[in-house]
Amino acid sequence: MSPAAAMTPPAFRAAREGADQIPGQARKTTLHARGRKTALHARGHQGAPAPNPYARGLRALTLATPLAMAIALGMGFFYAPLEAEQGFLQKIFYVHVPLAVVALCGFVLGGLLAIVYLRTRDPRWDMRSYVVIHISLIFAVGTLLTGSIWAKGSWGHWWVWSEPTLVSFLIIFLLYATYQPLRFAIEDPERQARYAAVFAITAGAFVPMNYIAVNLSTAYVHPRVFGSTSNLPGSMALTLLVSVIAMALLFTTLCKYELTAKHTRFQLRALRRRLLEAGEAASSRGALVSPTPPTAGAPAPTLHRSGA
Protein backbone atom coordinates (compact mmCIF):
# COMPACT_ATOMS: atom_id res chain seq x y z
CA MET A 1 0.00 0.00 0.00
CA SER A 2 1.30 3.41 -0.87
CA PRO A 3 2.18 5.78 1.98
CA ALA A 4 -0.61 8.19 1.04
CA ALA A 5 -3.14 5.42 1.19
CA ALA A 6 -1.81 4.13 4.47
CA MET A 7 -2.21 7.48 6.16
CA THR A 8 -5.84 8.08 5.26
CA PRO A 9 -8.65 6.34 7.12
CA PRO A 10 -10.29 3.56 5.13
CA ALA A 11 -13.71 5.16 4.99
CA PHE A 12 -12.36 8.32 3.42
CA ARG A 13 -10.31 6.35 0.99
CA ALA A 14 -13.32 4.36 -0.07
CA ALA A 15 -15.28 7.55 -0.59
CA ARG A 16 -12.49 9.06 -2.64
CA GLU A 17 -12.19 6.04 -4.82
CA GLY A 18 -15.86 6.20 -5.63
CA ALA A 19 -18.88 4.40 -4.34
CA ASP A 20 -18.51 1.59 -6.81
CA GLN A 21 -15.24 0.37 -5.35
CA ILE A 22 -14.99 -1.53 -2.12
CA PRO A 23 -11.87 -1.74 0.02
CA GLY A 24 -9.66 -4.57 -0.96
CA GLN A 25 -6.74 -5.46 -3.06
CA ALA A 26 -7.98 -3.63 -6.09
CA ARG A 27 -7.65 -0.23 -4.48
CA LYS A 28 -3.93 -0.46 -4.38
CA THR A 29 -3.87 -0.93 -8.10
CA THR A 30 -6.14 2.05 -8.56
CA LEU A 31 -3.94 4.33 -6.54
CA HIS A 32 -0.90 3.25 -8.43
CA ALA A 33 -2.51 3.50 -11.78
CA ARG A 34 -3.72 7.04 -11.21
CA GLY A 35 -1.88 10.22 -11.83
CA ARG A 36 1.20 11.01 -13.76
CA LYS A 37 2.91 7.65 -13.46
CA THR A 38 0.11 5.96 -15.32
CA ALA A 39 2.06 5.29 -18.46
CA LEU A 40 5.02 3.78 -16.66
CA HIS A 41 2.87 1.58 -14.49
CA ALA A 42 0.65 0.52 -17.31
CA ARG A 43 3.68 -0.56 -19.27
CA GLY A 44 5.18 -2.39 -16.31
CA HIS A 45 1.86 -3.95 -15.37
CA GLN A 46 1.38 -7.50 -16.39
CA GLY A 47 -1.61 -7.92 -18.62
CA ALA A 48 -2.21 -4.22 -19.10
CA PRO A 49 -4.06 -3.99 -22.42
CA ALA A 50 -2.31 -1.17 -24.23
CA PRO A 51 -0.32 1.91 -23.28
CA ASN A 52 -2.61 4.74 -22.40
CA PRO A 53 -2.90 6.92 -25.54
CA TYR A 54 -3.62 10.01 -23.50
CA ALA A 55 -0.39 9.66 -21.56
CA ARG A 56 1.70 10.33 -24.64
CA GLY A 57 3.75 13.46 -24.16
CA LEU A 58 2.38 13.93 -20.69
CA ARG A 59 5.77 14.06 -19.03
CA ALA A 60 7.07 16.71 -21.42
CA LEU A 61 3.92 18.75 -20.87
CA THR A 62 4.19 18.31 -17.14
CA LEU A 63 7.69 19.73 -17.23
CA ALA A 64 6.90 22.50 -19.71
CA THR A 65 3.86 23.81 -17.88
CA PRO A 66 5.45 24.94 -14.59
CA LEU A 67 8.36 26.33 -16.59
CA ALA A 68 6.05 28.37 -18.80
CA MET A 69 4.02 29.50 -15.79
CA ALA A 70 7.20 30.57 -14.03
CA ILE A 71 8.37 32.49 -17.09
CA ALA A 72 4.98 34.14 -17.46
CA LEU A 73 4.82 35.16 -13.80
CA GLY A 74 8.43 36.28 -13.86
CA MET A 75 7.77 38.43 -16.88
CA GLY A 76 4.65 39.78 -15.23
CA PHE A 77 6.49 40.80 -12.10
CA PHE A 78 9.90 41.82 -13.39
CA TYR A 79 9.69 42.56 -17.10
CA ALA A 80 6.35 44.25 -17.64
CA PRO A 81 6.28 47.87 -16.45
CA LEU A 82 4.15 49.07 -13.58
CA GLU A 83 0.86 50.42 -14.82
CA ALA A 84 0.52 54.15 -14.23
CA GLU A 85 -2.95 54.26 -12.65
CA GLN A 86 -3.29 50.96 -10.84
CA GLY A 87 0.32 50.20 -10.05
CA PHE A 88 1.11 46.78 -8.68
CA LEU A 89 -2.53 45.73 -8.55
CA GLN A 90 -2.62 45.58 -12.32
CA LYS A 91 -0.32 42.51 -12.24
CA ILE A 92 -3.37 40.33 -11.64
CA PHE A 93 -4.21 41.15 -15.23
CA TYR A 94 -1.61 38.57 -16.31
CA VAL A 95 -3.48 35.85 -14.45
CA HIS A 96 -7.06 36.98 -14.84
CA VAL A 97 -7.14 37.62 -18.57
CA PRO A 98 -5.35 34.39 -19.59
CA LEU A 99 -7.68 32.42 -17.32
CA ALA A 100 -10.67 34.08 -18.96
CA VAL A 101 -9.37 33.61 -22.50
CA VAL A 102 -8.52 29.95 -21.95
CA ALA A 103 -11.79 29.20 -20.17
CA LEU A 104 -13.82 30.83 -22.94
CA CYS A 105 -11.90 28.98 -25.64
CA GLY A 106 -12.30 25.79 -23.62
CA PHE A 107 -16.06 26.16 -23.49
CA VAL A 108 -16.24 26.73 -27.22
CA LEU A 109 -13.85 23.81 -27.79
CA GLY A 110 -16.09 21.61 -25.65
CA GLY A 111 -18.95 22.48 -27.99
CA LEU A 112 -16.84 21.66 -31.07
CA LEU A 113 -15.79 18.32 -29.60
CA ALA A 114 -19.44 17.62 -28.87
CA ILE A 115 -20.21 18.24 -32.54
CA VAL A 116 -17.55 15.69 -33.46
CA TYR A 117 -19.13 13.27 -30.99
CA LEU A 118 -22.57 13.68 -32.53
CA ARG A 119 -21.11 13.11 -35.99
CA THR A 120 -18.98 10.09 -35.13
CA ARG A 121 -20.79 8.71 -32.05
CA ASP A 122 -17.42 7.70 -30.72
CA PRO A 123 -17.59 7.91 -26.90
CA ARG A 124 -14.00 9.12 -26.76
CA TRP A 125 -15.06 12.45 -28.21
CA ASP A 126 -17.73 12.73 -25.59
CA MET A 127 -15.12 12.11 -22.91
CA ARG A 128 -12.88 14.78 -24.41
CA SER A 129 -15.76 17.23 -24.51
CA TYR A 130 -16.62 16.44 -20.91
CA VAL A 131 -13.04 16.87 -19.72
CA VAL A 132 -12.50 20.13 -21.61
CA ILE A 133 -15.69 21.60 -20.16
CA HIS A 134 -14.82 20.35 -16.70
CA ILE A 135 -11.41 22.02 -16.70
CA SER A 136 -12.84 25.16 -18.30
CA LEU A 137 -15.35 25.37 -15.49
CA ILE A 138 -12.52 25.32 -12.98
CA PHE A 139 -10.72 28.03 -14.95
CA ALA A 140 -13.95 30.04 -15.00
CA VAL A 141 -14.07 29.88 -11.21
CA GLY A 142 -10.50 31.16 -11.22
CA THR A 143 -11.50 33.96 -13.56
CA LEU A 144 -14.34 34.98 -11.28
CA LEU A 145 -12.13 34.92 -8.20
CA THR A 146 -9.28 36.90 -9.74
CA GLY A 147 -11.72 39.31 -11.34
CA SER A 148 -13.38 39.82 -8.01
CA ILE A 149 -10.05 40.51 -6.34
CA TRP A 150 -9.16 42.97 -9.08
CA ALA A 151 -12.51 44.71 -8.71
CA LYS A 152 -12.04 44.99 -4.94
CA GLY A 153 -8.58 46.42 -5.43
CA SER A 154 -9.42 48.96 -8.07
CA TRP A 155 -13.01 49.96 -7.29
CA GLY A 156 -13.41 48.88 -3.69
CA HIS A 157 -16.18 46.37 -4.33
CA TRP A 158 -15.92 42.61 -4.60
CA TRP A 159 -18.37 42.64 -7.43
CA VAL A 160 -18.97 45.25 -10.13
CA TRP A 161 -21.68 45.03 -12.72
CA SER A 162 -19.92 47.44 -15.04
CA GLU A 163 -17.31 44.93 -16.11
CA PRO A 164 -19.00 42.99 -18.92
CA THR A 165 -16.41 40.24 -19.12
CA LEU A 166 -16.86 39.42 -15.48
CA VAL A 167 -20.65 39.59 -15.64
CA SER A 168 -20.88 37.41 -18.71
CA PHE A 169 -18.49 35.00 -17.05
CA LEU A 170 -20.81 34.72 -14.10
CA ILE A 171 -23.72 33.89 -16.40
CA ILE A 172 -21.66 31.39 -18.35
CA PHE A 173 -20.41 29.85 -15.13
CA LEU A 174 -23.97 29.51 -13.85
CA LEU A 175 -24.98 27.85 -17.09
CA TYR A 176 -22.07 25.43 -17.21
CA ALA A 177 -22.48 24.61 -13.55
CA THR A 178 -25.59 22.68 -14.59
CA TYR A 179 -23.60 20.56 -17.06
CA GLN A 180 -22.62 17.92 -14.57
CA PRO A 181 -25.96 17.74 -12.76
CA LEU A 182 -27.63 17.35 -16.15
CA ARG A 183 -25.18 14.68 -17.22
CA PHE A 184 -25.37 12.57 -14.14
CA ALA A 185 -29.13 12.80 -13.89
CA ILE A 186 -29.35 10.64 -17.00
CA GLU A 187 -28.85 6.93 -16.48
CA ASP A 188 -28.32 5.54 -19.94
CA PRO A 189 -24.68 6.15 -21.01
CA GLU A 190 -25.49 6.71 -24.66
CA ARG A 191 -28.29 9.14 -23.93
CA GLN A 192 -26.12 10.82 -21.32
CA ALA A 193 -23.42 11.45 -23.90
CA ARG A 194 -25.91 12.65 -26.49
CA TYR A 195 -27.72 15.04 -24.15
CA ALA A 196 -24.46 16.34 -22.78
CA ALA A 197 -23.33 16.98 -26.35
CA VAL A 198 -26.50 18.91 -27.11
CA PHE A 199 -25.94 20.95 -23.99
CA ALA A 200 -22.29 21.54 -24.85
CA ILE A 201 -23.13 22.77 -28.35
CA THR A 202 -25.94 25.01 -27.17
CA ALA A 203 -23.88 26.46 -24.37
CA GLY A 204 -20.83 26.82 -26.61
CA ALA A 205 -22.88 28.87 -29.05
CA PHE A 206 -24.34 30.79 -26.13
CA VAL A 207 -20.90 31.93 -24.91
CA PRO A 208 -20.31 34.55 -27.64
CA MET A 209 -23.97 35.54 -27.85
CA ASN A 210 -24.12 36.12 -24.13
CA TYR A 211 -20.91 38.09 -24.21
CA ILE A 212 -22.28 40.42 -26.87
CA ALA A 213 -25.57 40.86 -25.02
CA VAL A 214 -23.89 41.68 -21.73
CA ASN A 215 -21.48 44.03 -23.48
CA LEU A 216 -24.43 45.85 -25.02
CA SER A 217 -26.14 46.18 -21.68
CA THR A 218 -23.19 47.58 -19.80
CA ALA A 219 -23.11 51.29 -19.34
CA TYR A 220 -19.47 52.19 -19.23
CA VAL A 221 -19.48 53.94 -15.90
CA HIS A 222 -15.88 53.12 -15.17
CA PRO A 223 -13.36 53.73 -17.87
CA ARG A 224 -12.08 50.34 -18.90
CA VAL A 225 -8.38 50.16 -18.41
CA PHE A 226 -7.84 47.42 -20.90
CA GLY A 227 -10.67 47.29 -23.32
CA SER A 228 -8.57 45.64 -25.92
CA THR A 229 -5.01 44.53 -26.21
CA SER A 230 -4.32 46.85 -29.10
CA ASN A 231 -3.57 49.85 -26.88
CA LEU A 232 -1.13 47.97 -24.67
CA PRO A 233 2.52 48.89 -24.69
CA GLY A 234 4.67 46.26 -26.34
CA SER A 235 6.20 44.75 -23.22
CA MET A 236 2.80 44.34 -21.59
CA ALA A 237 1.35 42.76 -24.70
CA LEU A 238 4.28 40.34 -24.88
CA THR A 239 3.86 39.40 -21.22
CA LEU A 240 0.16 38.87 -21.78
CA LEU A 241 0.86 36.68 -24.78
CA VAL A 242 3.33 34.54 -22.83
CA SER A 243 0.84 34.31 -19.96
CA VAL A 244 -1.91 33.14 -22.28
CA ILE A 245 0.39 30.51 -23.75
CA ALA A 246 1.39 29.33 -20.28
CA MET A 247 -2.23 29.15 -19.20
CA ALA A 248 -3.15 27.23 -22.34
CA LEU A 249 -0.35 24.80 -21.55
CA LEU A 250 -1.67 24.38 -18.05
CA PHE A 251 -5.13 23.76 -19.46
CA THR A 252 -3.83 21.15 -21.90
CA THR A 253 -1.83 19.40 -19.21
CA LEU A 254 -4.75 19.26 -16.81
CA CYS A 255 -7.04 17.96 -19.53
CA LYS A 256 -4.54 15.28 -20.47
CA TYR A 257 -4.18 14.23 -16.84
CA GLU A 258 -7.90 13.88 -16.44
CA LEU A 259 -8.23 11.99 -19.71
CA THR A 260 -5.37 9.70 -18.72
CA ALA A 261 -6.90 9.04 -15.34
CA LYS A 262 -10.30 8.31 -16.84
CA HIS A 263 -8.86 6.06 -19.48
CA THR A 264 -6.89 4.17 -16.84
CA ARG A 265 -9.99 3.80 -14.71
CA PHE A 266 -11.90 2.32 -17.62
CA GLN A 267 -9.06 -0.05 -18.38
CA LEU A 268 -8.95 -1.08 -14.76
CA ARG A 269 -12.67 -1.72 -14.71
CA ALA A 270 -12.41 -3.83 -17.82
CA LEU A 271 -9.57 -5.83 -16.27
CA ARG A 272 -11.56 -6.31 -13.09
CA ARG A 273 -14.56 -7.45 -15.01
CA ARG A 274 -12.41 -9.99 -16.82
CA LEU A 275 -11.01 -11.13 -13.51
CA LEU A 276 -14.47 -11.50 -12.09
CA GLU A 277 -15.67 -13.42 -15.10
CA ALA A 278 -12.64 -15.70 -14.93
CA GLY A 279 -13.28 -16.28 -11.23
CA GLU A 280 -16.91 -17.07 -11.88
CA ALA A 281 -15.98 -19.47 -14.64
CA ALA A 282 -13.52 -21.21 -12.36
CA SER A 283 -15.98 -21.54 -9.50
CA SER A 284 -18.74 -22.78 -11.77
CA ARG A 285 -16.52 -25.64 -12.82
CA GLY A 286 -16.97 -26.89 -9.26
CA ALA A 287 -13.29 -26.94 -8.44
CA LEU A 288 -13.78 -25.12 -5.17
CA VAL A 289 -15.24 -26.87 -2.16
CA SER A 290 -15.87 -23.66 -0.22
CA PRO A 291 -16.75 -20.70 -2.45
CA THR A 292 -14.85 -17.54 -1.68
CA PRO A 293 -16.90 -14.70 -0.25
CA PRO A 294 -17.73 -12.08 -2.89
CA THR A 295 -15.79 -9.33 -1.13
CA ALA A 296 -12.51 -11.20 -1.36
CA GLY A 297 -12.44 -11.13 -5.13
CA ALA A 298 -12.80 -8.20 -7.44
CA PRO A 299 -15.82 -5.98 -6.81
CA ALA A 300 -18.76 -6.12 -9.12
CA PRO A 301 -18.34 -3.43 -11.75
CA THR A 302 -21.06 -0.86 -11.52
CA LEU A 303 -20.91 1.50 -14.41
CA HIS A 304 -23.58 4.01 -13.68
CA ARG A 305 -21.12 6.81 -14.23
CA SER A 306 -19.38 5.21 -17.12
CA GLY A 307 -20.05 8.07 -19.48
CA ALA A 308 -17.96 10.41 -17.39
Binding site: M209, A213, S217
Partner: protein, 278 residues
Protein backbone atom coordinates in the same frame (compact mmCIF):
# COMPACT_ATOMS: atom_id res chain seq x y z
CA UNK B 1 -61.48 19.75 -15.49
CA UNK B 2 -59.97 16.96 -13.47
CA UNK B 3 -56.41 15.79 -13.72
CA UNK B 4 -57.57 12.30 -14.59
CA UNK B 5 -59.04 13.56 -17.85
CA UNK B 6 -55.76 15.19 -18.61
CA UNK B 7 -54.00 11.92 -18.15
CA UNK B 8 -56.36 10.16 -20.48
CA UNK B 9 -55.89 12.82 -23.09
CA UNK B 10 -52.16 12.48 -22.66
CA UNK B 11 -52.34 8.76 -23.25
CA UNK B 12 -54.29 9.33 -26.38
CA UNK B 13 -51.57 11.31 -28.03
CA UNK B 14 -49.72 8.52 -29.87
CA UNK B 15 -52.92 8.21 -31.87
CA UNK B 16 -51.98 11.52 -33.37
CA UNK B 17 -49.43 10.01 -35.65
CA UNK B 18 -50.92 8.73 -38.87
CA UNK B 19 -49.49 5.24 -38.58
CA UNK B 20 -51.44 4.49 -35.44
CA UNK B 21 -54.89 4.52 -36.93
CA UNK B 22 -55.88 1.29 -35.24
CA UNK B 23 -55.91 2.75 -31.76
CA UNK B 24 -58.93 4.81 -30.94
CA UNK B 25 -58.45 7.25 -28.10
CA UNK B 26 -60.86 6.61 -25.32
CA UNK B 27 -62.19 10.06 -24.74
CA UNK B 28 -62.64 11.28 -28.29
CA UNK B 29 -66.29 12.17 -28.69
CA UNK B 30 -68.05 11.94 -31.99
CA UNK B 31 -69.50 15.39 -31.56
CA UNK B 32 -66.03 16.91 -31.21
CA UNK B 33 -65.37 18.44 -34.63
CA UNK B 34 -61.62 18.69 -34.14
CA UNK B 35 -61.30 15.08 -33.11
CA UNK B 36 -63.54 13.98 -35.93
CA UNK B 37 -61.49 15.93 -38.42
CA UNK B 38 -58.34 14.45 -36.97
CA UNK B 39 -59.48 10.86 -37.18
CA UNK B 40 -60.78 11.47 -40.68
CA UNK B 41 -57.47 12.99 -41.66
CA UNK B 42 -55.61 10.08 -40.15
CA UNK B 43 -57.77 7.69 -42.06
CA UNK B 44 -57.12 9.21 -45.44
CA UNK B 45 -53.42 9.51 -44.69
CA UNK B 46 -52.86 5.76 -44.63
CA UNK B 47 -53.41 4.26 -48.04
CA UNK B 48 -51.23 1.28 -48.90
CA UNK B 49 -48.12 3.21 -49.94
CA UNK B 50 -48.09 5.60 -46.97
CA UNK B 51 -46.97 9.04 -47.91
CA UNK B 52 -45.29 10.72 -44.96
CA UNK B 53 -47.00 13.96 -44.01
CA UNK B 54 -45.14 17.14 -44.76
CA UNK B 55 -43.41 19.39 -42.26
CA UNK B 56 -46.27 21.88 -42.00
CA UNK B 57 -48.84 19.14 -41.62
CA UNK B 58 -46.84 17.56 -38.81
CA UNK B 59 -46.41 20.87 -37.05
CA UNK B 60 -50.12 21.54 -37.37
CA UNK B 61 -51.01 18.08 -36.06
CA UNK B 62 -48.75 18.31 -33.02
CA UNK B 63 -49.81 21.88 -32.32
CA UNK B 64 -53.47 20.90 -32.53
CA UNK B 65 -52.84 18.00 -30.18
CA UNK B 66 -51.10 20.28 -27.68
CA UNK B 67 -53.77 22.94 -27.75
CA UNK B 68 -56.55 20.38 -27.53
CA UNK B 69 -54.85 18.80 -24.56
CA UNK B 70 -54.43 22.15 -22.87
CA UNK B 71 -58.01 23.10 -23.63
CA UNK B 72 -59.26 19.92 -22.03
CA UNK B 73 -57.02 19.79 -19.03
CA UNK B 74 -56.33 23.50 -18.46
CA UNK B 75 -53.15 22.50 -16.69
CA UNK B 76 -50.61 25.07 -17.88
CA UNK B 77 -51.97 28.45 -18.90
CA UNK B 78 -54.35 29.11 -15.99
CA UNK B 79 -51.66 28.06 -13.56
CA UNK B 80 -49.11 30.34 -15.22
CA UNK B 81 -51.49 33.30 -15.19
CA UNK B 82 -52.49 32.76 -11.59
CA UNK B 83 -48.84 32.43 -10.65
CA UNK B 84 -47.98 35.71 -12.39
CA UNK B 85 -50.72 37.62 -10.57
CA UNK B 86 -49.62 36.11 -7.26
CA UNK B 87 -46.04 37.15 -7.92
CA UNK B 88 -47.21 40.74 -8.49
CA UNK B 89 -48.87 40.65 -5.06
CA UNK B 90 -45.69 39.23 -3.57
CA UNK B 91 -43.66 42.00 -5.21
CA UNK B 92 -46.00 44.61 -3.74
CA UNK B 93 -45.32 43.37 -0.21
CA UNK B 94 -41.67 42.49 -0.76
CA UNK B 95 -40.86 45.94 -2.15
CA UNK B 96 -43.35 47.72 0.12
CA UNK B 97 -44.41 49.84 -2.83
CA UNK B 98 -47.82 50.69 -4.17
CA UNK B 99 -46.60 51.47 -7.64
CA UNK B 100 -43.52 51.09 -9.78
CA UNK B 101 -42.31 52.66 -12.99
CA UNK B 102 -39.38 52.73 -15.37
CA UNK B 103 -36.62 50.19 -14.85
CA UNK B 104 -38.25 48.68 -11.80
CA UNK B 105 -41.52 48.16 -13.58
CA UNK B 106 -39.82 46.56 -16.56
CA UNK B 107 -37.77 44.34 -14.28
CA UNK B 108 -40.74 43.16 -12.24
CA UNK B 109 -42.76 42.49 -15.35
CA UNK B 110 -40.03 40.47 -17.04
CA UNK B 111 -39.02 38.51 -13.96
CA UNK B 112 -42.63 37.61 -13.30
CA UNK B 113 -43.23 36.57 -16.88
CA UNK B 114 -40.06 34.47 -16.87
CA UNK B 115 -40.95 32.69 -13.66
CA UNK B 116 -44.42 31.99 -14.95
CA UNK B 117 -42.95 30.79 -18.24
CA UNK B 118 -40.73 28.36 -16.33
CA UNK B 119 -43.87 26.66 -15.03
CA UNK B 120 -45.03 26.08 -18.58
CA UNK B 121 -41.55 25.02 -19.70
CA UNK B 122 -41.36 22.40 -16.97
CA UNK B 123 -44.65 20.87 -18.05
CA UNK B 124 -44.07 21.07 -21.79
CA UNK B 125 -42.81 17.54 -22.44
CA UNK B 126 -43.85 15.77 -19.25
CA UNK B 127 -46.87 13.99 -20.73
CA UNK B 128 -44.93 12.98 -23.84
CA UNK B 129 -42.19 11.43 -21.72
CA UNK B 130 -44.54 9.77 -19.25
CA UNK B 131 -47.13 8.37 -21.62
CA UNK B 132 -45.06 7.28 -24.59
CA UNK B 133 -45.70 10.32 -26.71
CA UNK B 134 -42.07 10.42 -27.81
CA UNK B 135 -42.19 6.78 -28.89
CA UNK B 136 -45.34 7.37 -30.85
CA UNK B 137 -43.87 10.40 -32.50
CA UNK B 138 -40.63 8.63 -33.40
CA UNK B 139 -42.56 5.73 -34.95
CA UNK B 140 -44.20 8.15 -37.34
CA UNK B 141 -42.31 8.98 -40.55
CA UNK B 142 -42.20 12.67 -39.79
CA UNK B 143 -39.51 15.29 -39.32
CA UNK B 144 -38.24 15.57 -35.77
CA UNK B 145 -37.68 19.30 -36.15
CA UNK B 146 -41.43 19.62 -36.58
CA UNK B 147 -41.71 18.72 -32.91
CA UNK B 148 -39.43 21.63 -31.99
CA UNK B 149 -41.45 24.09 -34.02
CA UNK B 150 -44.79 22.76 -32.81
CA UNK B 151 -43.76 22.79 -29.17
CA UNK B 152 -42.20 26.24 -29.50
CA UNK B 153 -45.41 27.52 -31.09
CA UNK B 154 -47.38 25.92 -28.26
CA UNK B 155 -45.23 27.66 -25.71
CA UNK B 156 -45.47 30.92 -27.64
CA UNK B 157 -49.27 30.70 -27.58
CA UNK B 158 -49.18 29.92 -23.84
CA UNK B 159 -46.97 32.96 -23.27
CA UNK B 160 -49.19 35.27 -25.29
CA UNK B 161 -52.21 34.03 -23.34
CA UNK B 162 -50.30 34.50 -20.11
CA UNK B 163 -49.42 38.06 -21.04
CA UNK B 164 -53.01 38.84 -21.98
CA UNK B 165 -53.79 38.25 -18.29
CA UNK B 166 -50.55 39.26 -16.62
CA UNK B 167 -49.89 42.60 -18.32
CA UNK B 168 -53.34 44.10 -17.54
CA UNK B 169 -53.03 42.69 -14.02
CA UNK B 170 -49.65 44.34 -13.71
CA UNK B 171 -51.05 47.65 -14.95
CA UNK B 172 -53.88 47.37 -12.44
CA UNK B 173 -51.87 46.25 -9.42
CA UNK B 174 -48.41 47.75 -9.65
CA UNK B 175 -47.78 50.01 -12.63
CA UNK B 176 -47.93 53.73 -11.84
CA UNK B 177 -48.12 55.25 -15.33
CA UNK B 178 -51.01 54.25 -17.51
CA UNK B 179 -50.43 51.49 -19.98
CA UNK B 180 -51.88 53.50 -22.87
CA UNK B 181 -48.76 55.25 -24.20
CA UNK B 182 -46.76 52.03 -24.04
CA UNK B 183 -49.31 50.06 -26.01
CA UNK B 184 -48.07 50.08 -29.57
CA UNK B 185 -44.52 49.09 -28.63
CA UNK B 186 -44.81 46.96 -25.52
CA UNK B 187 -46.72 44.05 -27.08
CA UNK B 188 -44.19 43.90 -29.90
CA UNK B 189 -41.28 43.75 -27.48
CA UNK B 190 -43.07 41.16 -25.38
CA UNK B 191 -43.69 39.10 -28.49
CA UNK B 192 -40.02 39.29 -29.49
CA UNK B 193 -39.09 38.15 -26.00
CA UNK B 194 -41.70 35.40 -26.12
CA UNK B 195 -40.18 33.95 -29.27
CA UNK B 196 -36.85 33.66 -27.50
CA UNK B 197 -38.41 32.21 -24.36
CA UNK B 198 -40.38 29.72 -26.44
CA UNK B 199 -37.32 28.51 -28.37
CA UNK B 200 -35.06 28.28 -25.33
CA UNK B 201 -37.83 26.81 -23.24
CA UNK B 202 -38.56 24.08 -25.75
CA UNK B 203 -34.93 23.08 -26.09
CA UNK B 204 -34.34 23.13 -22.34
CA UNK B 205 -37.55 21.27 -21.59
CA UNK B 206 -36.58 18.54 -24.04
CA UNK B 207 -33.12 18.35 -22.44
CA UNK B 208 -34.40 18.22 -18.90
CA UNK B 209 -37.42 15.98 -19.30
CA UNK B 210 -35.42 12.77 -19.59
CA UNK B 211 -33.39 13.41 -16.47
CA UNK B 212 -34.08 12.33 -12.93
CA UNK B 213 -34.22 15.87 -11.55
CA UNK B 214 -36.19 17.52 -14.35
CA UNK B 215 -38.03 20.04 -12.16
CA UNK B 216 -34.72 21.30 -10.87
CA UNK B 217 -32.68 21.16 -14.05
CA UNK B 218 -35.21 22.86 -16.30
CA UNK B 219 -35.11 26.26 -14.57
CA UNK B 220 -31.38 25.93 -13.84
CA UNK B 221 -30.66 25.46 -17.52
CA UNK B 222 -33.21 27.95 -18.76
CA UNK B 223 -32.45 31.00 -16.65
CA UNK B 224 -28.85 31.64 -17.75
CA UNK B 225 -29.84 31.10 -21.37
CA UNK B 226 -32.67 33.59 -20.89
CA UNK B 227 -30.47 36.35 -19.50
CA UNK B 228 -29.94 37.95 -22.94
CA UNK B 229 -33.72 37.92 -23.46
CA UNK B 230 -34.17 39.69 -20.14
CA UNK B 231 -31.48 42.20 -21.02
CA UNK B 232 -33.10 43.00 -24.35
CA UNK B 233 -36.66 42.86 -23.13
CA UNK B 234 -36.27 44.82 -19.93
CA UNK B 235 -34.08 47.51 -21.50
CA UNK B 236 -36.49 47.90 -24.37
CA UNK B 237 -39.59 48.13 -22.21
CA UNK B 238 -38.18 50.34 -19.44
CA UNK B 239 -38.49 53.66 -21.38
CA UNK B 240 -42.09 52.78 -22.20
CA UNK B 241 -43.04 52.49 -18.54
CA UNK B 242 -41.65 55.76 -17.15
CA UNK B 243 -43.94 58.23 -15.43
CA UNK B 244 -43.48 61.26 -17.63
CA UNK B 245 -42.98 61.39 -21.37
CA UNK B 246 -42.50 57.77 -22.23
CA UNK B 247 -40.30 57.42 -25.26
CA UNK B 248 -39.92 54.60 -27.66
CA UNK B 249 -37.20 52.05 -26.96
CA UNK B 250 -33.75 52.52 -28.33
CA UNK B 251 -33.78 50.56 -31.56
CA UNK B 252 -30.80 48.45 -30.60
CA UNK B 253 -32.70 46.49 -27.95
CA UNK B 254 -35.47 45.11 -30.16
CA UNK B 255 -32.84 44.42 -32.81
CA UNK B 256 -30.64 42.58 -30.31
CA UNK B 257 -33.66 40.63 -29.09
CA UNK B 258 -34.64 39.65 -32.60
CA UNK B 259 -31.07 38.63 -33.44
CA UNK B 260 -30.85 36.50 -30.32
CA UNK B 261 -34.14 34.84 -31.21
CA UNK B 262 -32.87 34.12 -34.69
CA UNK B 263 -29.48 32.78 -33.59
CA UNK B 264 -30.91 30.67 -30.83
CA UNK B 265 -33.57 29.39 -33.17
CA UNK B 266 -30.81 28.20 -35.50
CA UNK B 267 -28.93 26.55 -32.63
CA UNK B 268 -32.07 24.85 -31.38
CA UNK B 269 -32.91 23.68 -34.89
CA UNK B 270 -29.41 22.26 -35.28
CA UNK B 271 -29.34 20.27 -32.06
CA UNK B 272 -32.96 19.38 -31.34
CA UNK B 273 -33.07 16.28 -33.52
CA UNK B 274 -30.43 14.61 -31.38
CA UNK B 275 -32.68 14.79 -28.36
CA UNK B 276 -35.32 12.65 -30.04
CA UNK B 277 -33.51 9.46 -30.88
CA UNK B 278 -34.73 6.80 -28.55
Amino acid sequence: MSAATGHDAGRAEPADDPTATTTTPGDLRADDPVAAARSAGAHTASPTPPRPPGFAATVAAVLRKELLLELRTLESVPGMALFAVTVFVVFHFALNRNGVNGDEAAGILWVTLLLAALLGINRLFVLDAADGGFDGYLLAPVSRSAMLLAKALTLLIYLVLLELVAVPAFALLLLEPSLGPALPDLPLILLLGDVGVALIGTLVAALAVQTRARDLLGPLLALPLLVPVVIGGARASAPLLVLSHPTGPQPRWPVALGLYDLLFGLVAYAVFDFLLED
